[in-house]
Symmetry: C2
Subunit: 454 residues, 2 copies
Amino acid sequence: MKPSALSALGQRATEPPISWLMHAALSRPKLISLAAGFTDSVSLPVADARAALNRVLRSPRTGRPALQYGFTAGDTVLRKLTAEHLRKLDFHARTASSFSSSSLVLEPKSGMKNEDEKKYSPERLLVTSGSQQLLYLIAEALCDEGDIVLVEDPTYFVFLGILQSRGLHARAVRLERDGLDLAHLERILTSLKCRGELRRVKFFYLVSYYQNPTGVTTSFEKKRGLLKLLKKFERDAGHPIYLLEDAAYRELCFPGRADLPVSPTIPPSAQAVPGAAERVIYAGTFSKPFATGVRVGYGILPQPLFTAVKHIKGNHDFGTSNLLQHLIARALASGIYGRHVARLQKRYTHKAHVMKLAIEEHFPSSVEWWKPEGGLYFWARLPKTVPTGIKSKVFSTALKNDVLYVPGEICYAEDPARRKPNHEMRISFGNATEKDIQEGIRRLGKVLQEILVQ
Amino acid sequence: MKPSALSALGQRATEPPISWLMHAALSRPKLISLAAGFTDSVSLPVADARAALNRVLRSPRTGRPALQYGFTAGDTVLRKLTAEHLRKLDFHARTASSFSSSSLVLEPKSGMKNEDEKKYSPERLLVTSGSQQLLYLIAEALCDEGDIVLVEDPTYFVFLGILQSRGLHARAVRLERDGLDLAHLERILTSLKCRGELRRVKFFYLVSYYQNPTGVTTSFEKKRGLLKLLKKFERDAGHPIYLLEDAAYRELCFPGRADLPVSPTIPPSAQAVPGAAERVIYAGTFSKPFATGVRVGYGILPQPLFTAVKHIKGNHDFGTSNLLQHLIARALASGIYGRHVARLQKRYTHKAHVMKLAIEEHFPSSVEWWKPEGGLYFWARLPKTVPTGIKSKVFSTALKNDVLYVPGEICYAEDPARRKPNHEMRISFGNATEKDIQEGIRRLGKVLQEILVQ
C-alpha cells in the first residue's frame, strides 16, 4: 500500500452505502428507485421560494443583511421564529392528544410557563446546515474515539456512518411498534455499568417521529421512560447522558383519513418532559418539510453543550448562509411555510396510500410490513431465511427487474451483542411518482413472489 | 468543576477572539469598527442576486433541481464552471505577468495541455459551504491529534482556532514582503527531521493572495520553492506533505491606478507549478467576491484526499445547499459574477486609497505600515515596546475613542520557538464607509500620537 498522509478519521471515512445504490441507479435509466430518501419533487415550492426571495431581496435595506455574514448561532429573527414554531408544535401535541389527561397539565401552570420559556428560548437555539450538521457537531462535541452511543436497532444509516468515521461504538436497543424496548435498554446499561464502560456512554440517538428506516414513532411515555433510565445511570457514568432527539420527519405526518391507519395522537417531543431542558438535545429541520435544496436545520441544546457546539460550528463555517436563513424566516412569518407543509402532508398521505394499496395487492402474504403514520418509508420484513442485502438473490433480481430498495442490513449498527438482521427492506414513496410507486411495487412484488412462493 | 460529558475537542473549542471584539463593538453604538473582516455592504449584489434567483426559479423545470438534494461533491454544472473559472484565472496570470518569460511556457505545449486538463478537471473539484468548511475538512482528513501544521507567521486566526480545537500544533514560518522566508522554513523542517517529528507534518497552510492579516502576496517563485522544499522532506516524513493554498482574497485585487502601488503581476496559483496536481490543495470561494451571505466555496484536491474529504463532507451535511450553488452557477454563466467582481475591485481600490491617504495624514512616522495590493486589510507595526493587545493601553484608549482594530497578536500561532509579537494591528477597510474609514483612522491616529509621541 502507498503511504498516505490521511488521519485515522480520513482513513475510516467510507463511501456511504446509499451512494453505491445511487450509482447502481444511474446505470439503469429505466430503473424505478424506491431507495432514495429524496423528497417529492413535484411539490417542491418553486413559486413560493421565488416569492419569498423577491421579498427578501426587494430593497438594499432588506437584501443586504441576507447577503452579508451573520452570527454563528444563526439569524436572530429566524431563531426567534423557530423557537416559537417548536413551542407551538409541542403545545399543539399536548392539547390535541391524549396527553390532556396526563401528568403534564397537572403541573402548576405558572411553573410550566417558566419552564417552557426556558425550554423554547431562542438563546438555546442554534441554526445549522440541515439537521445533519447538528448530528455531526454533537458527535464531535461529546465523543472521543472509543466512546459509545446508544441507538435504535435499526437506525438512520448516515448517522452510523458518522459514528464509524469517528471511531465510535454503537449499542443497539430493540424497537417495538411504539418505540424503544426500555427493558432491553436497561439490560444494556446495566451490562455497560458492570463492565465499567458507562463513562464512555455520552448520549442516546433517537429518531423519534416516523423513524428512518422503520416508520416507528416513539410514544411520549417511552420518551419519559427513556430520560428516566438515562438519568438513573448518570451517577455511575460520572457525567450527563444526553438524549439526542432527531425529529427530522416530525412535520411530515399524515392527516386523518378514513382509509389510512392514522395515529390519533402525535406525541410531543421529549422537550415536553419536565426537567428535559438539561438533558434533551432536539434536532429539527426545515429542509425536509420545505425544500431539501435549502439546507436549514436547527438544534435546541442544553448548556454547556450549546456553547461548545457553537464554537465548533464557528470553526466549520462561522454560520449557515444568511440568504437561506432569511428565506426560511420569510416563509415562516408570511404563512408560506405553514401552507406548504399542509399541502405536503396531504400529498404524502396520498402517496403512502397508493403504496399501501400496491403492497396489499402485490406482496406475498409471508412478507410482514409496517404502515407508517408519517415520514417517507415503508418497512418490510421477509422470512428470516431470505436475505435482502446487496449480494442477495432478492436484490439482484430486483435490480434486474429495474426496481431498487434499501437493504435493511445497512440500517443496523455494528454490535457484537447480536447478528445483524438481513431480511428486511426500506421502501420509500418520497420521490417516486404515483405511477412509479405502483409499477415499482408491482415489480418488487413479482420478484418476491418468484423467490418466496415456489 | 461540574462533571462534563464534553469530548476533548468539545472542551478545547473556545470562543474565537474576533467574537469578543464584536461584542465589544455592540455595546458602543458610536464605535467605528476597522476590525471585522466583513465585506462592503453597500456593494452587495442585491438586484443581481434577485435577478439570478428569478432565473433559477422561473419554472418547475429549472427550479425543482435547485430545491432538491444534490450530490455531496457539488452541482455538476457549478463544478464545471468553477474549474473553468480557475483555469482562466491561472492562464490570465501566466500570460499577463512576467511569467511569460519563465520556465512555464518553455514546456511543450501539448504536455501542458494534458497536465492542465488534469489539474483543472471538475472531477477534482469539491463544493463546500464557504472555503472555511474546506479548511476544516482538510484538517480532519489529514491530521490526528498532536500532528503539526506549518503556517505563515502571522496567519488567519480562525484557522488557528481550528488547529487549537483539534489538538494540533503549528510551526510558524517568517514572512517577508513577497511571501515566505524559505530559508527559515528549511531550518524548521530540518529541525523537525532531527527530532523525528517530520512524520507528524501533514501540510503547509498558505494564504497566498493579499494575506489575512498582513496583505502580503506570495510570489510564484516562492510557491515553486515551497513545493520543492516540502517534496524534499517527504521521504523522511514517510508520506506526502501537502500545500493548502487558501486563495480567499485572490479576486479582490486592485486594478492599476497611478496613485496606488499596484503589483504589475498577479502570480498564478501554486497549481500552475508543474507536477502540482499531486500536492496542491487549492481553496477558493465565491462568498467574498460575490456575497458573504451566500456561502459557497470550493477546493481542488489531489487523490486520495479528494475521496476522503468528500466522504467526511457527506457525514457533515451531504452537500452544500443546491439553491446557493444554482445561484452562483447562474451568476457565473450569465456574466453577472464577472461584472460584479470588476465593480467590487474598483470599489475596494478606492476604499484602500482613502485609507492610505488617512493613514499618511494621521499616523505618527514611527508606525510602519504595509500597503496592500488587494484584499481587505492594512497591517501596521508599532515600535516593539508598544503593545496593541486587548489589555494594552493602545487598545483601551482606542476603544474609549470609539475605534476598533484587530490586535496583531491573535494572528500568531502558539509556537515555542519564538515570543508572539504583540505590537501590530490589522485594520480593515472592508465594511466601513469612506467617511468612517477617514474618521476611524483619524481617531486611531490621535490615539497613536498621544501614546507614541510624548
